[in-house]
């Protein structure tokens, strides 16, 4: 057997070889890194099995005067005669559920305190409690959208017949 390396002609263009070699190695490396990225991307879910942010509650007339806590949705329905608004029970500090204490909201986790309209009295909360968009659905139920905040003082007027 003859050494066939000797038979090979001299490399006519070493620069071209180098570029091709780098392209070859680079494409393998790029595929490797892309797969790592793809695997990481899998951890950001695309489909969430979470309850919708817009939902219906009870009829306006079902709510008594004052503050009614909805524990499942973590919010307060506030009624004053025919005007309604919804204040979030999620503390703006670190997400615990605030409690209504007749004259103010208090948070059990870090002691934030809020006025009846949700603005901050004291404690670590950086922002007032959110006011959620509140409407009456065509079939006559209170409908809330927790993806839309409204300005503090925005009231829904719903004629209920009785106060």
């Amino acid at each position: 057997m003859e050494d066939d390396r000797k038979a090979r002609p001299a490399n006519p263009d070493p620069e071209r070889r180098k570029v091709l070699r780098m392209l070859g190695k680079g494409s393998v490396l790029a595929a490797f890194l892309a797969q790592i990225g793809a695997a990481g991307r899998a951890f950001f879910p695309n489909v969430l099995y979470e309850p919708p942010s817009r939902f219906k509650l009870k009829r306006p007339s079902d709510y008594p005067e004052g503050y009614t806590f909805d524990s499942a949705k973590r919010l307060f329905i506030v009624r004053k005669a025919d005007s309604f608004h919804t204040i979030s029970a999620i503390c703006t500090h670190l997400g615990c559920t605030v409690q209504w204490k007749a004259v103010e909201f208090d948070c059990p986790c870090h002691g934030s305190r809020f006025r009846p309209d949700g603005t901050v009295i004291g404690g670590p909360a950086p922002r007032p409690l959110s006011w959620w968009q509140t409407a009456v659905s065509p079939d006559g139920f209170i409908e809330i959208d927790t993806s839309t905040e409204v300005a503090i003082g925005t009231e829904l007027i719903a004629k209920t017949g009785k106060a």
Binding site: P45, Y49, R74, H93, C109, P124
Partner: protein, 433 residues
């Protein structure tokens, strides 16, 4: 027969009880479990009063936690519906299940404490200089790994503590600038706490974090040897170096016959003399066994005497009042509760300042401390040397502040996170589940 079994045992594992110096070395070097220890060890580094064997205690706790943890995995179901029930089963239906869970829980809390005290010991003795600074960094990573293991661990029972700790913990992560919202999203596996959240924390707790801690533990041990053992040996090495070496007398053949001369002085590469060291087998192995058994029995005694806490099942609509973090995180809870800054209409949440900025600053400070330390070399490997007095007082000061915050959080905080002095009546809070 007995003798044959003994021989077989020795053939497989090598000698545990040496009959000669050679056997003593081989008992370590050729033993599967012990080969990562040195064959000989300096007497000074085995001193109970220098290291208090805190690193060995931490490693013992890690081993206990791994074994009890794997056993608990046979009974625990990482599902939001069944997790709480499987913990109740461990308490009431599995034989000795309660002791298993208690021992895992108290070992975990013990590990947080012991790892921290170990770090304090290394700080007070200035044992983080030169090449040891790398091991100081590894140690900090191990402390963080321990804390993350504790955090992910107490989430698994899916009780009220778990649910609200995840709520607060991931809300703090959300406060991080730029990446915060994505970090919260990937941790929760969505916008709300749910099955994905539990599964993620479970896999972190039983696989990724233990692997991380065990690998770093191996590296930590390897570095201890490569850095020349405990820093306690450094004063001895300096003393040995200073001592004038007697050069051995020799005779050699010269042109005029035999002439007396001197040969070169040879020092051992460890910088230690023969008389400073003893064989690791049985001197080190015996103490390792002792420390492990002591730690095991302390955690077992705690497991027999005190039950691991378990609150009511997770309820997203009711936050316990007050909702307290475990003691080792309560100082952070104090910080997030009291560091919100308001300047006019702008306010910066305590979640960011007390939850990210302050701990991040403390972490950076302690990480780079070895490079700030400019005390002379003779202050290395000695408890409370006068040259490091200011540094040690600074560290003690920071510890006193943290312990004071823990005390306030654990004993003085009542409903709505208000301060109640000892003796002051606390309002009765309805227990809502």
């Amino acid at each position: 027969m007995r003798e044959q079994l003994r021989r077989l045992w020795r053939q497989i594992f090598w000698a545990w009880t040496p009959n000669s110096d050679r056997e003593a070395s081989e008992a370590i070097v050729k033993n599967l479990w012990l080969h990562w220890f040195p064959a000989k060890i300096a007497r000074a580094s085995m001193d109970w009063n220098y290291s208090f064997w805190l690193g060995t205690a931490s490693a013992s706790l890690l081993l206990i936690l791994t074994v009890t943890g794997v056993m608990l995995m046979f009974f625990y179901v990482p599902s939001t519906e069944r997790a709480y029930g499987s913990i109740k089963d461990l308490e009431y239906a599995v034989s000795f299940g309660r002791i298993l869970r208690n021992q895992h829980r108290w070992s975990a809390e013990g590990m947080v404490a012991v790892v921290f005290i170990h770090m304090a010991r290394v700080f007070f003795t200035g044992a983080y200089r030169g090449s040891r600074s790398i091991n100081w960094l590894v140690g900090i990573a191990l402390l963080l790994g321990t804390l993350l293991l504790s955090f992910t661990g107490y989430l698994l029972p899916w009780d009220q503590l778990a649910f609200w700790a995840i709520t607060v913990g991931t809300s703090i992560a959300k406060e991080a600038p730029v990446v915060g919202a994505s970090v919260q999203y990937i941790l929760l596996g969505g916008h709300e706490i749910g099955q994905q959240t539990l599964l993620r924390f479970y896999v972190l707790h039983v696989f990724f974090l233990p692997i991380f801690v065990w690998i770093l533990f191996g590296y930590h041990m390897w570095r201890v040897r490569k850095d020349g053992g405990l820093a306690a040996l450094e004063p001895m090495r300096i003393a040995r170096m200073m001592r004038p070496k007697e050069t051995p007398r020799t005779k050699s053949y010269s042109f005029f016959g035999i002439t007396p001369g001197t040969s070169v002085a040879v020092m051992s590469s460890t910088g230690l003399e023969e008389e400073d060291q003893v064989f690791s087998s049985p001197n080190l192995t015996r103490r390792l066994t002792l420390v492990f058994l002591a730690v095991f029995n302390v955690t077992l005694a705690a497991a027999l005497m005190f039950n691991a806490p378990l609150e009511g099942p997770a309820n997203p609509s009711v936050t316990p009042n007050p909702a307290k973090a475990p003691w080792y995180f309560v100082w952070l809870q104090e910080l997030v509760a009291s560091t919100t800054i308001r300047i006019g209409p702008i306010s910066v949440s305590g979640g960011f300042i007390g939850g990210i900025l302050v701990p991040g600053f403390l972490l950076l400070l302690i990480t780079f401390w070895p490079w700030f330390d400019r005390s002379p070399l003779k202050a290395e490997g000695v408890w409370f040397p006068p040259e490091r007095r200011r540094q040690n007082y600074t560290f003690i000061g920071a510890m006193v502040v943290i312990v004071a915050l823990i005390f306030v959080g654990v004993y003085l905080r009542g409903p709505y996170w208000r301060i109640y002095w000892p003796g002051q009546a606390r309002p009765e809070m309805p227990r809502l589940y």
